[in-house]
């Protein structure tokens, strides 16, 4: 994980064959510039970045469902709960499950755990839109390789 550049996911662990659920992991680094301010001498993962980690987890699931045809953009965070502090060195297990896929949007339930203990959860809604002009899709596909996204499996699913 490199939270200072919003790389919250280290790897996609599993996506279920029905493409309804995903499991990702991210190791909170010992060193990051975000801890210089949050907080000096008392490093804690910012809650907004835990939301971001859950959003990115869900994002990979939505990309799997639409075979990278469109890009999910976070639109709504409901019932977001940050239950305990997350500190450097802890490994986040992130899970997401699609509740509903509508026309141009997806609603998902997502949560983060550390050593099996629930530490954050939320219901997220994404707008799912055509890729913007430019290199965004190529960049996302490259990141997919880095996080072990099962591109071949999804293409053949």
């Amino acid at each position: 994980m490199r939270p200072e550049v919003f790389k919250m996911i280290d790897r996609v662990v599993a996506i279920d064959p029905a493409l309804n659920k995903i499991h990702c992991q991210g190791l909170v680094p010992q060193e990051s510039s975000i801890f210089e301010g949050h907080f000096p001498g008392h490093p804690i993962m910012p809650g907004v970045l835990l939301i971001e980690a859950m959003a990115q987890t869900t994002g990979w699931l939505i990309l799997a469902r639409n075979r990278f045809e469109k890009m999910p953009f976070l639109a709504t965070v409901k019932e977001g709960k940050l239950r305990t502090f997350v500190v450097p060195g802890q490994n986040l297990d992130l899970y997401s499950e699609v509740l509903h896929e509508g026309s141009g949007f997806v609603v998902a339930r997502t949560q983060g755990l550390i050593e099996g203990k629930l530490i954050c959860n939320a219901e997220l809604t994404f707008r799912v839109l055509p890729w913007p002009e430019g290199k965004m899709k190529a960049v996302v596909l490259k990141v997919a390789e880095h996080v072990n996204f099962p591109l071949t499996d999804i293409a053949n699913a």
């Binding site: 639109a75 709504t76 509508g102 026309s103 141009g104 809604t125």
Partner: protein, 93 residues
């Protein structure tokens, strides 16, 4: 029709915190009720769940943007409810 309208009106009232008695079949969701596109996602989610359908929002938006339809055709509530009834009937067929 009336039960569809009641369900939709109740969803809108609850989702957007709009007084139920101000929502009529002739209300335009955007122009009269002030519902924005983000709130409409919540409404669409609730309608999809309540009726077991998938409102074709992308198609409707495209048609409006292309000038092939007006927002009134889809977002005046009596028209929205008629579309919902059509989708429910098509699903049952």
């Amino acid at each position: 029709m009336s039960s569809t309208f009641d369900t939709v009106a109740n969803i809108i009232a609850e989702t957007c915190d709009i007084p139920r008695d101000t929502i009529t079949p002739d209300s335009h969701a955007i122009d009269d009720l002030g519902i924005d596109s983000l709130d409409f996602l919540d409404i669409a989610f609730a309608i999809d769940k309540a009726f077991g359908i998938k409102l074709p929002l992308e198609q409707w938006t495209q048609e409006v943007n292309d000038g092939k339809a007006t927002t009134e055709q889809y977002f005046v509530l009596k028209n929205l409810c008629a579309r919902i009834d059509e989708l429910v009937a098509a699903k049952a067929a």
